[in-house]
């Protein structure tokens, strides 16, 4: 008997939760805010679903109810992706070490 592909996806999902668990515990507390903004940005990878939805129309009619929702989702996810990664970048650039030469 063949195994349902859903089981494979479920395995990936469960294992990723464990990976996430250990990786996140190793994040230093001082970087918890960047952690939130970067998780925000990467969860917007949902944009892949939005792109499929947006491209679902045929060449005669690009816009149908389904693809309009797709386009809206693309815009929302794009705000998050750009906003999330850039604001994380901005924050991380501020974390500096003590300058040794300065007295």
């Amino acid at each position: 008997m063949e195994i349902d592909p859903l089981i494979f996806r479920l395995s990936i999902f469960i294992l990723s939760i464990f990976v996430g668990y250990y990786v996140v515990w190793s994040v230093t507390p001082s970087l918890h805010t960047p952690l939130m903004s970067v998780t925000n940005a990467i969860s917007s990878v949902i944009i892949v679903g939005a792109i499929i939805a947006g491209l679902s129309g045929n060449s005669d009619s690009v816009f149908n109810t389904s693809s309009i929702f797709g386009f809206l989702a693309i815009a929302l996810a794009a705000i998050n992706i750009f906003g999330g990664f850039l604001v994380t970048q901005r924050m991380l650039a501020m974390y500096k070490k003590k300058k040794k030469d300065k007295k």
């Binding site: 996806r9 952690l35 892949v48 491209l55 705000i79």
Partner: protein, 465 residues
Amino acid sequence: MISANLSAIFYLISGVLFILALRGLSSPETSRQGNFFGILGMIIAVTVTFLSVGNFSTGFVYVLIFILVGGSIGALIAYRIPMTAMPELVAGFHSLVGLAAVFVAISAFLNPEAFNLGMPGNIKLGSLIEMSIGAAVGAITFSGSVIAFLKLQGIMSGSPITFKGQHPLNAIILTSIIALIYLLCSTQSSNLFWILLAVSFLIGFLLIIPIGGADMPVVISMLNSYSGWAAAGIGFTLENTALIITGALVGSSGAILSYIMCKGMNRSFFNVILGGFGATEENSSSSSKEQRPVKSGNADDAAFLMKNASSVIIVPGYGMAVAQAQHALREMVDTLKKNDIKVSYAIHPVAGRMPGHMNVLLAEANVPYDEVFELEEINNDFANADVAFVIGANDVTNPVAKTDPQSPIYGMPVLDVEKCKSVLFVKRSLSPGYAGIDNDLFYKENTLMLFADAKKMTEDITKNL
């Protein structure tokens, strides 16, 4: 057009890159590289999606336009946002992830053929279950985050809104969501799908309104977690590994942060979620209204104390952020360091309005991160320090948490500020903090209260040093 197997491999790669992005955050040195991995993962995922759909017609142009429009809005926000407003920003971003998940689910429900999920009215059972879970969690994330945003922004009152029968009502709604998903899957009725969405929006709203403004660190982390589970739900629907991995990562990340925040307040997760902290505080604060003597001083006294100290520990809190005093504080510390005084910063896990908020604000003011310490790292040092400078923090320094089992904050880990030789406490008035309880520290023999705006006081002290 590339094969489904090849694109699956690329999605896997982008999932791995996202794991590396979080891994990078284990130290500030590797963090920037981590962020780069995250961006790379995103580029791969988006490119592969384009290639796998392989439809470069007019629709493609519109996709690019929408990405560009959204991207420029996002970039603009990212550059403009002041660091003090990070909690609002993150709450706002969570709501967008939630809404995007809802939109993708709607789109997949209306046009399942595009996603290879069957025909309208006859969607594969497994996909329909995953889709409706993703949509429901996304809707909860959206409306919950909107409320969190409004509370943080001050548009909505931060105090908990409670009414009679709230918990039974929420329980009924949550049960009805499960019932609706079951009915939806057995009938495939689109009306039920819309009702499910409406009810989920409603419950997201109802779940967050009873939670007080100061419990926001927990709420934000929790919504972070929800946005991850929503993404994972959609990932199952789309059979997309990148989304499943990311959803799981974000979901567990948010859950861990919620746990850390709850522990920082010594409250159980359910206690926070069910709200009602406001109810217990009233009776305990009104019972002890007697006036106790406090010692208050001015900038001159504070400067004198600090000049004669050999080590100073700064305890910043949300009040510092409100007063925008972090730059003035850094200048004061620079002056202290020129006088060969050892200065370090002590940060409580729930200082600020979101996890790690204080660290970002100090980093913005050019405070080196190796001078900033967490509670466990620095708590023993207070006994050896000469001066503790409390600026904008309150409840996290209250010794009552260690001594009075009656107190609502009893058992909460606090900074042992009172063990310092002297304590300088910058505050506008004697009013209690968000927990609504008096801080015993105000009345200690070795405490000098500095009643003023945090920024102004810090600047005045610097002048007097």
